[in-house]
Structure formats: C-alpha cells, structure tokens
Symmetry: C2
Subunit: 499 residues, 2 copies
C-alpha cells in the first residue's frame, strides 16, 4: 500500500498514466493476423459509402460490395421454409397460426422437444441439439449414398469458421519446440492464414495449378511437405472444395491422391466443404472427402483422421447471419474427442437459431410434403441464377484484354488473373503497396466496385488477381463487369502509355 | 515421392497407421483447460438420466440439474416481447399479422433496416449492427444516469464469454518471456481459468472474503499483485459483479478502490456485469464500474482502460441459446482498437438473432407503448420469483448443521460452505478426488441433484463448497433443498460415526 501511495504521489506531480495495452504490448500474434475479406479496401469502401450518403460526389452513385460471400446483403431472398421453421421455434405461439404449414410446424416441434425446457433460449449440449446431430448424420449418409455416419461424430458450430478454429486449436501448440505446420492451398480463404497467425503455427503453402483450372497437383503437395519438413512438423492438411476463392471443383481422383498422401504422411485432414451445394458446371460433381475415403477401403476409412465442415451461410440458403454450421469428425482418438468436447463446453454452445437453420438444410421438405413445391422452386431459382452468373462472369471477364478467368465451376467467386503493367507495379511499390491492392483501390475509387486483391488470398509471385463474388443480381452484375472491363482497359492504357 | 513409396511399403508390411492427434500430441494448453460447470459431474448426471430413461432404478425419479445458469431449461418462460421482435425479424411476412403488436413490429423493422438486404441472414459489420450499438449506448447512458457512452465503443459479442476471450486474447501473448498475469477472484466463474489455461497466461488469484459476505478486500488485491509481480507481469484484473458463483453485490466504495488500484498499477479492467439486472436484496444496488469511474473524475475516466460485459443469457430474459451479448470498451488505444476489430472480423459477426435479442433488452417497451404492461408484468414476475428463491435458498441452507450460506444478494447461484468430516476427506483423497467432488458425486448418486463442487471455482484451502443455481421452480427448489438437507445430515452422521 505504501508503494501505491508513492506511485500516486508521482502521478499527481504530472506524470500521465500510460495505457497498459498499446501496439507495443499487444499480443504479437494478433498483430500478425490479416483478413483481407474485411481488410483495408473494405474499410475504404465504407468510408466512400458514408461520403456518398452525406451528399459527396464521386464518378458513381453507389458502392457495389463484391468483396464478401454475403448473399442476402446482395438481395438474395431467404428460403421461406427455413425461416418459417426458425420463426416457429422462436415464437411457438405461431404453432396455432393457420398461415404456417404443418411440415414446418412438425420440424419446429421436433427441434423444440430437443431443447431444454422446449425453448430456443436454453443452452444446448456443447456439441449441439441431439436430434439435429442425428438429422445431420442421416443427411450425410444420404448424400454419400449409404456411407455410414455416426451422429456422435457431428458437432454443431458457430458458422464453419468456429469449427475450423476448434480443430486447429487442438493441433497447434504455441509452446511446442517442433512447431506445427498447417498445409493450406494458395490461393486460400484467409480464415486459414489468420488462424495460423493467431495460433503461431507455420503456414505451409501448396500452390493450386492456375493453368489447370486451379487443380490440386499431388506432386506439388509432396514438394511443399518435404520443404516444410526441414523447419516444422506438418501435421494437418486443409482443402477447400469447391474452392474459395478459386471456384474449382476437385475431381475424385485428386481427392483420392490427397487422402492417400495424408494417410502416408500421417496428416490430419480438414476438408472445408461449405460450398458442397454450389456446383454449377454440368461436367463437375461434388465428391465428399468422406465418401472418397470410404471407397478407398477400410484401411483408409478406419484410420485417416478427417474433419469436414459445412455451414448455413453458403449453398442456396446463404444464411450467414445465423452463424450455423457443423463439422463431422471421424477417426479422432476418443481421448482427444473428450478434450475437444471440454474445450467446446467452455463456450457453452452454438447459437440455437443457427442450429435450427442447419436442421432445415439437412432435413428439407420431402416430395410428399406441403412445402416441397415452393421449397424446390426457391432452391432451384437461387442455384440456377448462381450458375448463370458464374458463366456470365467468366465470359465477360475473359473478353477483356489482360484478364484471364478460369471457369467458375463452383462456390461463389471468380478469381481472375489480371495483367498489371510494369509501370503500375512500380508505382504501387513506390507507394509501399501490393500492385493488386493498388489496382483494386483505383477500381474502387473510380467505379465504386469493391473487390479483394489476390494478395489477400495468396498467389504465385509476380501474378496478380482479385476475388469478386458472383452474388449481385444479374443486372447489377452486368453493370459491375462492364465497369471492371472499362476500368481495366483504361488502366492498361494509362500505364502502357507511360512506357 | 520415393520416401513416400518406402513408407507405404513399410505400412503394407503390417505397421498400423498411427493417429496424428493423440493425448500426447494434443495442444497441452487444451489439456490444461478445466470447466467444472460442464465437467465430470455433469457428464455423470447425463449418464444417470439416460439410465433412468431406459428404465433403470435409483432412489429418485429424476435428475435435477442445478449446475448451470440455464433459466429456460429450468422452466422459466421467455419474455413475450423479445420473442415477438426476433420472430418478426426472422420471418418479416409476420409484419402483416394483426396478432403482433405495433411496438414489436416497429423495433423489428428498425433492426432489419440496419441489416444488409434487410435480412437477418446477412453478415453484420463485425462489431455488430449499427443501430443496435446505438441503442446499447443509449441504454448505458440511461442506466448510468447520464454518463456518456459512445456507440463506437460498443461491440456485440456471441454471449459474454466471446467478449471476455477477445479482450484476453489481445492482452495475453503465449510467446512473451515476461508472462502476462491475469488477476481473477477466487471463487471465480471457470471461463476465466479456462481461458487463462488455453492462452497460457498466469492466473493470479485474489481471494474474496467469505466471512464478509464475499466482499472484495483491497488489501488482498495488493497482496496478490505484489506476490504475482515476482514471477509475472499482471496486466489485467477481472471482476465479476454481481458475483458468480458467490452472489455478492459489490459496494460503490469497493469498486472505487478496485479502480484506483487499477489506475495506480496500470491494469486493464474487465468487469463482468452480466448479472446487472439480478439484484435481490433491497439494501444492495448495482453500480457499474463505468459510472463509478466517471464519478472518480476525469483523470480516472479518461485513462483507465475498461471493458464491461453484458449478455442476453442472464437478467430476466435468460436467453442463453441466442448467444447474444455486448462489451463496452473505453480508453482503449485507437491502434489497438483497430487490431481488435480486425481480429473480430475473422469470425465475421455475432449471430444476428442474438443481436436482435440484445436490442430488445436495451430498448424494452416504454410506458406509453402497447406491450409495456405485459412486458413489465413478465419481467417483475421473473425477478420477483428469483428474489424469493434467493431468500429461500439461503434460509433453508443455513438451517442445516454444517452448512453456511452467505446471502444471495444477486446473480443466480448459492455457494454455500459445507463442512466435510475428516474421515470423508480422507476417503476422498484415497480415491484421488477433491473432497467436495466426492461430496457432490454422493449427493448426485443418492438424490439425483446435480451441483458443482467448489473446487471447480476455486476456494481457500481446507474449505469446501458447492455451487447451485436458484433457477428451479419454487416447488422443485424446496424439494431440492430438502434433499440436500437430508443428505448432508446423513453424510455427517455416516462419517462422524466412523470417528
């Protein structure tokens, strides 16, 4: 107490209290995190939006945000049946309303029966509501044409991100002297690199083959693994299929090779399959890692540790705000599983409304049910529009000189390669900026279009890209792509003229 | 590739593939986490429940779970108005329904206007929906009788736990050589100790004064701080007010002392105020840390870094499943704030239904609105019942020989001290068990009542406690307390007879 009194006296003499938390004392792992999808360019877009709202003028009247896979924000309508079920769960008095169909009521009643006190306001068990876990397992079995799924391997999550962070947390120890390597595709969805930074793991890049429609080349996997072995212990491989930001759908053969590789090298497999319902080109098909593993035989199916992730945020529902998702985890050591459940229990449980939304996705109206027709129509309308927009985006971009875009086979993004003239690269570097960041900032300033520079996802040195979503309405998307084209041509002209 | 082929050959010769993730290779920080509220005793309770469901017999017919503050699971009814607003946001077609009041519709419309595409299914900005942040700031100003609150200091969270983890993540670096000390009360809510273990910080215990109704003694704070300084750098102090598991409500004088201490020693203050609406005894009043800081004058109010946490899960709403909450963060370095927003953005946003629920709590029906009467009646019915149960619990427990319970001034728990005879202590130790765990397991096995041992929260050496919620209905609570009394007397007799 004496020393405190002394300190107090010192301060009264005029010394200002310093902050305890400054950029210098901040956890350096937080500082290292980068997340381009909501990064500097998006902050800038928000500033411009406010400027326009306040009456400022720009060469455009609105900012079009094609930076994030946020379908409803881009005008996509919710699936009626999903919202009916969640509303019924939220306000069970609606069970008496004749304007809600029986099939929705039946599902809501069943979910509420699985909730403590029959209320969406109670905590669920940490892995989620039991009947929802069972519905998910049944859905997976059907999706994978009979490959068994055990509901006790299903864990509801707060969006897929939460599940991915949980599995990485188990694998990565910041203290470990032989540091944990996490293999991720490049380009990748920056949740992975952000999680790796935050947990102080080692990011091990394997490059997708742009010239081969972003395919995953097994030789590149071995190369990356061997190189990483020199300075860390690679313990997990992450795959995103269909790809984000790249939009490719992996072939069955490629998945087999990845699983064989993981089997051989004793890697934990994390398969991010949140776009499993978003496949647009007729010659592509979604193959789940689990099903392929099963078909490789019991030696593989009973041994490779695999976590696969799904979400309410993508697919045809696009329910991002509900933060719903699940992971299926197979072949996990039972003792580790108990530890994971303990870790999950600290956060109590995923949001119940998101769990209910997930339940509808895995247990949609059946042909003999009242809501089937409307559900089917809404679902195919969303997926049909996305397929049209995927095709349109690819076509328009590929008609622009200096832009080359692989087919958008799946997911919700185009990731075109852009030619940036050397003079523009120089100018960007002089500004201490990545050339594609410079490009995207100019695009934003001149057209109001907000896309994310390829450097935020990773790309081969000397190549430049951006990621844009295909989510705007077809009319708006045409405007957007037209503006990109005109901007790009102008940009090329400006910087080529300087040469 | 050659080495892989070799490895493959080795495996074909009969070596089984080892798991990559085992208890040995698991992140040791995960292993170190403990969370008693959903710990071994709760797992045991679940097993007994299933055993009973399957027709097994026990000396009781049901398990009563008094282990967790899960109001709805214990039969508490939701606040109608809150659920109406969330249902309207979820299914806006209900805006046309005459059975929903205009005041609920008005709020739902306003929330949806703040959402991308006017949909609860879009991501919000990472700190939350802007109009909800503004409502929260207005609520705080009103609660604190005019102390200013800036909505840009408000961050919506996924329950309070998420906010607490976020702030600790900024402060704690696992890599740091001078390790970060986190001061927490003992007894504490085990989220804190779990987070500290997970992040590899140093837990610095300050003991609440059981003999003085669990008051926080400033001399004890200095003692704990000075002792900790020898082996770590204490940088943050956590306070839970009203107390969990201890139920005390802190005096204004005590809060002033804590804030002065934090000011002097340059500590970040985290005040867990999720029970701010749960104060039961007429001689106690909730004082927010922020308001007290304000009243200490600008030198304090403009310098002490303070984060305070609130939640939809407690209070009179008890909406745990919505995972709603917020934190108000003042005096944070602007650069650190930008880093925090970046970190939050990786997880995208808190669930929108939880954000909407939070909005109703801070923006409830006003006296001139249609829903006011029902809202007021429901609110006071819940809080009145809790006050009755707090009193009843204290009275019945204190009438049992060998049990001593401080008044439950606030929150949702009693944390009685229990006398455990030396012979029982010995028996527990022979079983490798904490004596209060032994006691609680016996209680569960013999009566079906599930409470959490004091050792899960921390307690002075040689003292024993358990935490029970006061949430069961008054009838069930009487049964529960009667069973605890009978069990305790039996237990004392059994182990005293042995002496």
């Amino acid at each position: 107490i004496l020393s405190a009194a002394k300190a107090s006296a010192g301060r009264l003499e005029g010394k200002l209290r310093e902050k305890t938390l400054t950029l210098d004392t901040l956890n350096p792992q937080v500082k290292a995190v980068e997340y381009a999808v909501r990064g500097p360019i998006v902050i800038k877009a928000g500033e411009i939006e406010r400027y326009l709202e306040e009456g400022g003028t720009k060469p455009f009247s609105e900012v079009i945000k094609a930076n994030i896979g946020d379908a409803h924000a881009m005008g996509q309508q919710p699936i009626t049946f999903l919202r009916q079920v969640v509303a019924l769960c939220t306000f069970p008095e609606l069970m008496d309303s004749p304007s809600f169909p029986e099939d929705a009521k039946w599902r809501a009643r069943r979910i509420l029966q699985g909730c403590g006190g029959h209320s969406l306001g109670s905590y669920s068990a940490s892995p989620g509501v039991e009947c929802i876990r069972k519905d998910i397992a049944a859905y997976i079995e059907q999706r994978d044409e009979g490959v068994p799924s055990d509901w006790e391997n299903i864990y509801l999550t707060t969006g897929a991100s939460d599940g991915i962070m949980t599995i990485l947390r188990l694998l990565v120890s910041g203290k470990d002297s032989s540091r944990t390597g996490v293999m991720i595709p490049i380009p990748q969805y920056p949740l992975y690199s952000a999680a790796i930074s935050e947990m102080d793991a080692v990011q091990v890049n394997y490059y997708l083959d742009e010239d081969n429609c972003w395919a995953l080349d097994i030789n590149e996997l071995y190369r990356a693994y061997q190189a990483a072995k020199l300075h860390c212990q690679p313990r997990v491989i992450c795959i995103i299929n269909p790809g984000n930001p790249t939009g490719q759908v992996q072939s069955k053969k490629c998945i087999e090779e990845v699983l064989h590789f993981a089997y051989e090298e004793n890697l934990f497999v994390m398969s991010d399959e949140v776009y499993q319902d978003n496949v647009y080109t007729p010659d592509c098909q979604f193959h789940s890692f689990k099903k392929v593993l099963y078909e490789m035989g019991p030696e593989y199916f009973n041994s490779v540790e695999l976590a696969s992730f799904h979400s309410t945020s993508k697919g045809y529902t696009g329910e991002c705000g509900f933060r719903g998702g699940y992971m299926e985890v197979i072949n996990m050591d039972p003792e580790v599983k108990a530890q994971m459940v303990k870790l999950l229990s600290v956060r109590l449980c995923p949001p119940l409304a998101g769990q209910a939304a997930m339940d509808v996705i895995v247990n949609p109206p059946q042909p003999d049910e009242h809501s089937y027709k409307q559900f089917r129509q809404e679902k195919s309308s969303v997926l049909g529009a996305l397929a049209d927009k995927a095709k349109l985006t690819e076509q328009i971009l590929n008609a622009v000189p200096g832009i080359k875009c692989n087919p958008v086979q799946g997911a919700m993004y185009a990731f075109p390669r852009i030619f940036i003239p050397p003079k523009a690269v120089e100018e960007a570097k002089a500004l201490g900026m990545q050339p594609d960041m410079f490009y995207c900032l100019r695009l934003l300033e001149e057209t109001g279009i907000c896309v994310v520079p390829g450097s935020g996802f990773g790309q081969k040195d000397g190549t430049y890209h951006f990621r844009m979503t295909i989510l705007p309405s077809i009319e708006k998307l045409k405007v957007l792509l037209g503006k990109v084209r005109d901007f790009h041509i102008r940009f090329l002209k400006e910087y080529s003229a300087l040469e």
